[in-house]
Amino acid sequence: MSTTQAAGAIPRALARRRPIRRRQWAGLFFVLPAVALVVAFFVVPLAMTAWMSLHNWPLMGASRFIGLDNYLAIARDTRFWNALRFTALYTVVVTIAIFAAAFPLALFVEKPRPFGGFYRTAYFLPVVVGFASASLLWAWLLNVDAGLFSPAADALGLTDGRVNLLADFDPAFWSIIAMVVWKVAGFTMVILMTGLQSIPADYLEAAKIDGAGPWARFRRITLPLMRRTIALALILSVTGSMLAFDQFYIILGGGPRNQTVTAVYWIFNQSFVSFRLGYGAALSMVLLAILLVLSVIQLRLLRHPEGES
């Protein structure tokens, strides 16, 4: 976000000084490949999705224009709203959990210390594993018969017999939260770390001389100056969580008892299990709208703090 603003600021400053019609055309020419890619792989598919969402579009057979019927059906689709409610719950919990883990980690690895590089790498390592592979790994770790956690807890005498972690909602849900924090916290940590590093040391030093304690310095200087960074990390985390699919599909299969079916999971089911592509497209449009609203709200909240313009 900050890069686009910077890029936008320079031409505007130049434009005031002299007319540069030709340069604008040249600029357009330079961005043309990027524009073509965006059009081909984002705008056109999006338009097609919107078009499909107005049809009864089965995976097989002929499609039929039905206007807004799909959207009316969504309003009555309790299983979709349940999935969305679960996705919202998951997003709130996992975002708090990720920040709770990533912020201390960022504060820890930001300062120069022995083995600093090692810690950074270690915390970041799970990020480079694909989500599907990580899910398969944890599906095994969490398996009650052949896995690690339940048999280990049993062998150490922590539990009376083996506990099937995936059989009930609470342990299954928190297992997924733990897995996602392990997987994603390193990424959020790196983003937050760059924010921390961009704070001039003078500010903190001056505050220290004025007698501000560590907590006051963190709250009054570090946090406000990291507003932009936090906004980025927050939007990435919220968007990613609202689109969660792999871990619930691979580890839990939407279970126990369909209690962990997320919004994207439901879209996938409608499109490729029930073969209702048109309805799946309509659901996707609804989810897109929800995500847009959420992102705008977050940007508003974090970009214009009280007292600043």
């Binding site: 995976l59 057979g61 018969d145 369909n258």
Partner: protein, 415 residues
């Protein structure tokens, strides 16, 4: 005279060869990966003995429908397809399949073909699918564990009480040994192995035409109580609760499960992959006796608008011959033609006979939304079986599943 006849016959054969060579056809055929054992052998035998040729492609079972649908949309669908029979109504309803009623009725052995297949292959009184491969659900038991537990290893249980009693005795052996196994989080497994218990007791989960879900019946409640009781007594391994089907066969094959509802496919798989397991095969019984079975397998369907009907018909005719049925039986499927199934199976493991008999009287629920309401991982049926076997609120689960299933049926295309 004999010589003359021979020469004449040779001449006719030559003539036939040239004629058919002129119009020899090659048709493309897809089969799901479950059929990767028998289908290549049948295609090979067909290609060697016929002028018309079949070109086979094996498709992973989980991708078959998507692949076929996208290929059809792009005009590259195969001419014919061996398809999980439960999909036939929905494929036919989508207008994707060729009406083969006349060809089917012209077969002299049409009324001997597996009735369950023909029923699911029929949509609005026209035939779109004919039986190809077959798999029926049966009950298998571990003879070694039965012997250790002091039970008669050669006598399978004939009602629920006997199953539970045997499971208790086997589980009493202790250690990792358990009495009974089922995949508790798998809709497809339980429609295959749990509904026969209900059918054999006189109940059903859908009306004949699939237009109404009838989950809340006394037979269903009895069967649920039967499973719950075994779970409560600890006769079922803890992993059953979250098994989405991956252990459906493997659990029994490990050799520490007393009894498990399974399928005819297990006979071939156990014989070839786990020859040390000593096991018996019997019918899935009703509460107080009787038996039933889920008749599963593949229907053979033809893509609408194909020009290779002649070759396809020749291939089907060959598949239904004694040679075709014997190949089918030898490589992992039950025969689908009742009048020669005994002969096709005569050199094979005698336990196949039980499975073949189960197939003949087996049933298959009919629904154009079978995948939605039953087979898919998040179907109301899959959710219900897990809830009623392991949860606390049987009434609520039944009511919820009934309502969701009926809702899906009512909003199905064509309704």
């Amino acid at each position: 005279m004999k010589r003359l006849m021979q020469r004449l016959a040779g001449g006719i054969a030559l003539l036939a060869l040239t004629v058919s060579a002129a119009s020899a056809e090659t048709f493309t055929l897809w089969v799901r990966s479950d059929g990767s054992n028998f289908m290549p052998r049948i295609v090979e035998a067909f290609n060697q003995s016929h002028e018309d040729k079949a070109e086979l492609q094996i498709v992973p079972v989980a991708e078959l429908v998507q692949k076929y649908a996208t290929a059809a949309a792009g005009g590259a669908a195969p001419d014919a397809l061996s398809l999980d029979l439960i999909y036939t109504p929905s494929f036919a309803a989508a207008g994707q399949l060729e009406d083969i009623t006349d060809f089917a009725k012209s077969l002299p052995y049409f009324d001997k073909l597996s009735p369950a297949h023909v029923k699911t292959g029929t949509y609005k009184d026209r035939i779109y699918g004919l039986p190809y491969s077959a798999d029926s659900s049966v009950l298998i038991w571990n003879k070694k564990l039965f012997r250790q537990a002091g039970l008669d290893p050669d006598k399978g249980p004939t009602n629920w009480a006997e199953i539970e009693a045997a499971a208790e005795k086997v589980a009493a052996l202790g250690g990792d040994t358990k009495g009974f196994y089922f995949s508790g989080a798998c809709g497809g497994c339980n429609i295959f192995t749990f509904t026969p218990l209900i059918w054999a007791s006189g109940g059903d989960i859908l009306t004949e035409d699939g237009s109404k879900a009838t989950l809340d019946t006394p037979q269903m409640r009895d069967a649920i109580a039967f499973y719950r009781d075994m779970v409560k007594k600890g006769l079922v391994p803890e992993g059953a609760r979250t098994d989405t089907g991956s252990n459906f066969f493997a659990a029994f094959a490990r050799g520490n499960i007393g009894l498990a509802p399974s399928g005819a496919f297990a006979i071939g798989a156990l014989n070839t992959q786990f020859p040390d397991i000593e096991y018996g095969v019997t019918f899935l019984p009703g509460k107080t006796g009787g038996w039933s079975s889920f008749a599963g397998g593949d229907n053979f369907v033809v893509t609408k608008g194909t020009t290779k009907l002649k070759a396809i018909k020749a291939f089907l005719d060959f598949s239904y011959s004694l040679e075709g049925q014997t190949l089918l039986a030898r490589y992992g499927s039950l025969p689908v033609r009742g009048d020669i199934s005994g002969e096709a199976l005569k050199d094979l493991d005698p336990r196949y006979k039980i499975a073949a008999e189960a197939m003949e009287k087996g049933r298959t629920p009919y629904s154009v939304v079978f995948n939605d309401i039953i087979n898919s991982m998040n179907s109301p049926w899959a959710q219900m079986v897990n809830e009623v076997f392991f949860g606390d609120d049987v009434d609520g689960s039944l009511a919820n599943a009934q309502e969701t299933m009926q809702g899906i049926i009512d909003s199905a295309p064509g309704n």
